[in-house]
Symmetry: C2
Subunit: 245 residues, 2 copies
């Protein structure tokens, strides 16, 4: 077990931070680590806006569904899919720019942004910081786009809070490894693994709530997945000239 | 500089592998690391199929656009967006299952799969393995789905080759940090950064090709982005019951 694997296995989301800025050189180092993640065709379609301005952090905390730790923690990184540079490259070389005309750019950009963010998470945690990704950035993409002056061909896909933890949450149990670790073909036996996990999570919840709740994973996640999710993402992407047809 | 940051900054893609299997406990450890990445609402919508079967690896090498290292390297991990477990959770709790009816599931799943893969990349490289992500898995998703018996609500989004490197490629220069590291708002000055990077990449190419090519980033990426990309992703996702409207 080396430091890398130890850091990765020790991950938990932190939602309680000291009101304290990160040193500038750490902000740069964290972005540099994110930037080192691979990207499709070396397109590097990811831009990271480090928000440290207190007013903007407070506004973003509200826009993301009133998550106060966005305002409290040292920095809020907004990860953007970025094909604006690709557009400029096409202009410079007199090529048509078509990649955002259909669905591929969205898939590539979203995936590459995920790769980049996880590098930052691991790097930040190795330096002792706490982190939590913020999907709530998609609650109202248009407002985030205006606030951060994000141009066409660029879209804010996920946020990441990084800061000094006030206290450490527990490590949350994951699905049994066999559920997600399949060999040579998809393992259809998922129902069994979910039942197993539901028992583990019921115990975990009981412990965390002093017996008040035994809500398992199926109960928790079905409350999310019975909804169609955020309805405004596709329109907001289209406004930024990502045409997902 | 700790081992985590060193590993991250030292990343390069490896496309030349020894024909040698990884120890079983490393396969499991790598998936476990991937699984520890955060996920939206703890949905854990990622399943990883470790393909070590030689016939299947060879078939996948061909399906991904004749990339021989997929067949040669020890293992080819196929990262899948997985909402099948979510569907089972909804059935178990008598909830409707609606999250894949629209666009959100695709965005969440793709992003979370990216997070998971980067954890695996960093972990693998910390153990001395080489890696390279394979977007070519999207060349013919339907064939991959059949080959790996992937059910509805599950979609193979990206592959990852992991193995014993035969030789190490050079670390490729990235865009200037200021291009991707913006502060409090989007930095519109991207044209200047691209011009800078184009010069760096021209030099890098000249060195790598003994002066035969000075192809810069804009020239390389515009050849990719002048196309609309892979036309069949959306239809293949719809066949798996992801409705991206």
């Amino acid at each position: 077990m080396n430091q890398v694997i130890e850091t990765i296995l020790n991950h938990r989301s932190i939602r309680n931070y000291k009101d304290q800025a990160l040193p500038e050189e750490h902000l740069a180092l964290l972005v540099q680590c994110a930037q080192k993640a691979p990207s499709s065709n070396n397109g590097q379609p990811v831009t990271i806006i480090a928000v440290t301005d207190k007013t903007k952090k407070a506004q973003l905390a509200e826009l993301c569904g009133n998550q106060p730790y966005i305002a409290e923690a040292g920095v809020f990184f907004v990860f953007c899919i970025d094909f604006y540079r690709g557009k400029l490259a096409c202009e410079k070389t007199n090529n048509e720019f078509c990649i955002t005309d259909e669905f591929t750019a969205t898939v590539i950009g979203t995936f590459d942004a995920g790769l980049a963010m996880q590098n930052m998470i691991v790097a930040a945690e190795s330096l002792g910081y706490g982190t939590v990704p913020i999907g709530g950035i998609l609650n109202d993409p248009q407002a985030v786009i205006s606030l951060l002056e994000i141009p066409a061909y660029v879209f804010p896909i996920c946020g990441l809070v990084v800061g000094y933890p006030k206290d450490y949450s527990q490590v949350k149990p994951r699905l049994p490894l066999k559920a997600v670790f399949n060999r040579d073909k998809y393992d259809p036996n998922q129902k069994t693994y979910i039942d197993e996990y539901d028992e583990v999570m019921a115990e975990y919840m009981a412990e965390r709530t002093n017996g008040e709740s035994r809500r398992n994973w199926s109960e928790t996640i079905s409350r999310v997945y019975r909804s169609k999710g955020r309805r405004n993402i596709k329109q907001a992407m289209e406004n930024q000239k990502f045409y997902n047809h």
